[in-house]
Amino acid sequence: MATATGRPSLAVWKFASCDGCQLSLLDCEDELLAIAEQVQIAYFPEATRTVIDGPYDLSLVEGSVTTPHDAERIRAIRSVSKRLITIGACATAGGIQALRQFADVTEFTRYVYAQPEWIETLASSDAIAAHVAVDYELRGCPVAKEQLLEVLGAFLCGRRPQIPDTAVCQECKRSQAVCLLVAAGTPCLGPVTHAGCQALCPRFGRGCYGCFGPKENAQPAALSAALAAQGISRKTTQRLYTTFNVAAEAFRNESERLESESESESAAEAAAAAAAAAAEQERDR
């Protein structure tokens, strides 16, 4: 749906999020002019006050659906968007705010807000795809600038975006970085995490935090076993899975499995300690 200018129109929408992914778009400094020449920026409050009414050729959506109002709004956006692409972990997997799924939201609102009765919120933080059809999901917390440009470029010439769904380790090895997990026993989610960041953290000596969510065919249980063999505690590993992509199925399942294992482990430990204490008492008598 080309606009009066003959260029396809672009709209950028925000849901529950930190704005980091939109900033990644603004961060495309060198390419921003080229983008503005190729598309008409019709709606992008973070960048311009101009508002051009829909329908739009391409909508980029940041953030997750956390309120009944969000749920209505995303349906309206879908109905005026020819193509809809989600950008980032919030829009694609629910984001860090999906941690609410593991607790009682009503209790949270009571702690946080002076007038909790004014708050209308959902019990979960949903990926956009849980509410409407999505044409393409771009991962990352935040998205990688190069991948965002690739998706826009692919959209403009009508081809499929080339975004590999393999592990961060692939980018780590291509960059010739030394593996932290093997050479230093550093916890790293690279082997189960979707590539896209060019192994940013491992290249700077930090293990991968899993910003891009699970890779294709991710095997988190195998990684947890490998981390345990490096002497990394179950609790540390469980926390690694419990961040920006905690609601992505593979990470959530592993986080829950580790949690229940540590619970039964601490229960067993407590029982063993009680038995030992009883035995000691027995001896002392």
């Binding site: 080339q162 769904d165 692939q170 090895k173 030394v178 593996c179 082997p191 195998a222 490998a226």
Partner: protein, 395 residues
């Protein structure tokens, strides 16, 4: 290698360790960029060597499945370690390479720019015997097929190799079984054997090519004594003896793998395998790549990039209808059988040189030799030959 059959004639010349710097200088004077092992924060990697001090002096390594640690040796050796995470293939078959660029030109229409800068002459110092074998394998793959890879061939021609025998194989090394080490046989310009016996520290040295002989002439060497020659033989034997037998002999191993297509053990490995591609990207012989065509936003320039690929990626087997090796079991089987069995059919040699990198750098610590042993152990007489069907898809 056994005591009866020496890998190569005894070296006749000795280079004092204090003269190693002269070797580097002579190479530099001849226009070579000198590359070699150097110490990174946590591993020995390959990079440019400005002078002899860039080598990992007195540095050793400990390797086990999924574990690599550096240690101090205490004897001042320059080459007292086994191979690390890097391999020389990165210099001949780079991890990312723009092959060509196409420009849309108002006057000329489409204009193609073939890339690939003229290869810089490079001298590789400290090439291990298993790496010479790997270079020979990649030569076959890239230059001796119907179509030769131009970039690889040019970079390869501009290479000068100085091999160093291995005196300290890691626990993950099995080059003796793959007949590639621990002493170099051929394929080098110069070869060194480090004799580090403080306070004596010297290298036995020999040439393997005309260019190597020319350089050897220019070096300040002396004749090797009988004692020094016997120290070289002893080192070859000691290093070999340090590597226990881990694999069935070639014929047996090929027959086993050819008949293990539907073996249940592939599923057991898949429980541990992360399909993370580490093993294939550290492997000095793996040659698979991915081709990516990129376009700019204006649609004016397109370029084709070749990057390292791996059979552990879904995309590797992508055909109409999706990837045909979806399960991790099918991917691991492809890798192991290609390395140790189908490579023979394809290129006339093993695809594995026994360097052990895939064992050390697998985050899960999967050891291919242990997996072959497990396949052999549970073989239980089911010798169904490889069929186009089989488990094909696992999970």
């Amino acid at each position: 290698m056994s005591t009866e059959k020496a890998p190569r004639p005894q070296p006749e010349r000795i280079l004092e360790a204090t003269q190693l710097q002269t070797l580097i200088e002579l190479l530099q004077q001849r226009g070579y960029e000198v590359l070699g092992p150097t110490r990174d924060e946590s591993a020995i990697v390959y990079g440019p060597l400005a002078d002899v001090t860039a080598l990992p002096v007195d540095c050793g390594d400990e390797q086990a499945p999924g574990v690599y640690r550096l240690r101090t040796r205490g004897d001042g050796a320059y080459f007292g370690y086994a191979v690390g995470p890097h391999s020389w293939k990165a210099y001949l078959f780079p991890p990312n390479e723009v092959l060509f660029r196409v420009h849309r030109d108002a006057a000329e229409g489409l204009r193609t720019e073939i890339l690939g800068a003229p290869a810089t002459p490079r001298a590789l110092l400290g090439v291990r015997p298993c790496e010479l074998a790997a270079l020979a394998i990649q030569d076959t793959v890239f230059t001796q097929q119907a179509v030769a890879d131009r970039g690889y061939a040019e970079r390869r021609r501009a290479l000068f190799t100085i091999a160093v025998d291995c005196a300290a194989p890691a626990a993950t090394c099995f080059c003796a079984e793959m007949a590639s080490g621990p002493a170099a046989r051929d394929g080098f310009d110069l070869v060194l054997t480090e004799l580090c016996d403080p306070p004596q520290h010297r290298f036995a040295i020999a040439a393997g090519s005309a260019a190597g002989a020319e350089l050897l002439q220019a070096l300040p060497t002396r004749a090797a004594s009988a004692a020094e020659q016997s120290a070289v033989s002893q080192q070859w034997q000691r290093a070999t003896a340090q590597m226990p037998q881990r694999l069935p002999a070639e014929e047996e191993r090929r027959a086993l793998l050819a008949h293990s297509h539907s073996h249940p053990h592939w599923e057991a490995v898949a429980e541990r395998c992360l399909a993370c591609v580490n093993c294939t990207l550290v492997c000095p012989t793996c040659f698979c790549s991915d081709m990516v065509d990129r376009t700019d936003l204006e649609g004016e320039v397109a370029e084709r990039v070749r990057t390292w690929g791996s059979c552990f990626e879904a995309e590797h087997s992508y055909m109409v209808g999706g990837p045909h090796r979806h399960s991790v079991a099918a991917r691991y089987r492809q890798w192991l059988t290609h390395k140790l069995e189908t490579w023979h059919e394809q290129f006339g040699s093993s695809g594995c040189v026994g360097c052990g990198r895939c064992i050390t750098w697998c985050p899960s610590g999967i050891d291919l030799t242990a997996e072959v042993a497990a396949l052999a152990e549970h073989h239980g007489g089911s010798t169904a030959p490889r069929t186009p069907g089989g488990i094909h898809e696992g999970a």
